[in-house]
Amino acid sequence: MNTTPPSVTPPAVPPPRAGAVKIYVETIARVEGEGALHVKLKGGHIQDLRLEIPEPPRLFESFLRGRRAEEAVDITARICGICPFAYQMSAAHAIERAWGISIDPQVRLLRRLFYCGEWIESHALHIYFLHAPDFLGFQDAFEMAAKFRPEVERALRLKKLGNTIMRVLGGREIHPVSARVGGFYRVPAKRDLQPLVDELKWALEASCETARLVKTLPFPDFQQDYEFVSLSHPDEYPLNEGRVVSSLGLDIDTAEFEDNFLEQHVRHSNALHSVLRERGSYHVGPLARFNLNCEKLPPVARETARECGLEPPVRNPFRSIIVRAVELVFACEESLRLIAEYEPPAQPCAKYERRAGTGMAVTEAPRGLLYHRYTIDETGLILASKIVPPTAQNLKRIEDDLWRYLPQIISERWDAPVEEITWRAEQAIRNYDPCISCATHFLKVRVTHEE
């Protein structure tokens, strides 16, 4: 066995597929996390495949113990720089449930608007800067920007709008500070939201353009029989509340989440793998939300989905980029509706009393379901907590996709160069917009041939 850097031409005889090929994708550290991919192929078959997450455990669940329950809203926001509000919302809703707090309908509306801002900035970033270059054959978004300047400018403006919504509602773009248990510390006046309207009207059109652009990308022919899991609300596209449903008939209250889903530790990953009990891996995120709730999309988003030829169930994970664009349309359309309906609540925050109890909540982060549970004592301190992020829920699913997708690439083209297999594996990982996706754009690849 010898280790060859990628610049060295693989030996001509025997061809790579005749022997075993080991693909090792090593990451450079990123703030959001580290991921590495190991694949060992022999004769077109995978012998070993591991998506390694070597990032040290962050132990949030442990150090929340003994803290005031209200603090969970700000502490858990620090888990993610891209979707801090999702963490704030799952935490606030879970604690509100434990304490029996009902929030003002206008507070609920504002939270939904806040969440739309997060979806806009996160989806715009992923569609244009992380995922589209894969389909267009560019090394990265900068190479793409040279040929697609108006599109990249559009992406920057969309992302900026998402950030602006976060700043107007949360005081700042990253790790906003206005949300709290029971509502907000401060709510905006109606006039504070008005300046967003014109830009949102532009963004609605720009999102439709985005969908029209990404629907024309070349998609690999790869369909999987997923179990899709998402929130479901009687009359809204899922965001901040609902029941947890699946494409195989699961329909549960969020309080029953842990009876049905199990987190497993696997040796090669410091992120846990979530599975459905006795069923295995499942799929959360845009594809799941769309497939289980597309009839609840508002008119423009629904029409855009139709125009893009999206018919549920969409089972090709590469087409998630189109679904993300449709959700971008949804988030802009929904924001406009919410701003039109907004009247500042009489009180920014509901009155409540601390008491002993347990509360669970699920909200829809841009990447999928985010579950929080808190057990609180009678003085309001956290006794135990559990956080199940979307990326942990998709990790096993990503590995399962690679187990099936890589042999397909090789059977289509037995002499595909290792670099191409590696690139397509990364593209498949990025279908899920995992928090490690930024890191996987800057990977060093090592290939080992075994004769």
Binding site: V31, G81, L125, F142, V152, L156, E173, C438
Partner: protein, 161 residues
């Protein structure tokens, strides 16, 4: 002249940028703190002719070493990129210039001050060498700001006068 200080104050010497902004404020000069990602930089420098960027850097030099890079119209960002031993940011300063150049949003005149970092330990604070370099840079920049004519064409009083 716009001063942008990048970094995370909770991450050891990555706090060089925010510490420089604090020191500048003490010297009555304004600076803006940013996380340092390309998107926030592009947003912050839109419409500015001259931009100064302060960030921690790792090139392998002695901790506290001050590196200075002049970038004109985003043209020679490679000389800055080449000096980076490693980058923990996906879309950072270099990418902001590259993207800004492509989308015609790049300051005509920019200077990057990179302060060589020793450690990025969470909650670690600045190492003494970096702290010294930050103070020195801040007083240089404050003098530069004071020497700038304000909107009325008057030179601001420099500190101590």
């Amino acid at each position: 002249m716009l001063i942008l200080c990048c970094g995370n104050a909770d991450r050891g010497d990555d706090g060089a940028g925010p510490a420089c902004a604090d020191a500048l404020r003490m010297l009555h000069a304004q600076a803006k703190c940013l996380p340092g990602d390309a998107f926030s930089l592009l947003d912050a420098w839109t419409g500015h002719a001259k931009v100064i960027i302060v960030d921690a850097i790792v090139t392998g030099a002695a901790p506290g070493t001050l590196h200075r890079f002049e970038i004109k119209n985003g043209e020679n960002v490679e000389q800055f990129e080449k000096r980076l031993g490693s980058s923990s940011h996906g879309f950072g300063i270099a990418e902001a210039f590259r993207l800004g150049k492509l989308t015609k949003n790049v300051p005509p005149e920019a200077v990057i001050y990179g302060i060589e970092a020793a450690s990025f330990e969470w909650g670690g604070g600045l190492s003494p060498e970096v702290h010294g370099a930050v103070q020195q840079l801040a007083s240089t920049l404050a003098r530069e700001v004071a020497a700038q004519p304000d909107s009325t064409g008057q030179h601001r009083l420099s500190m101590g006068s």
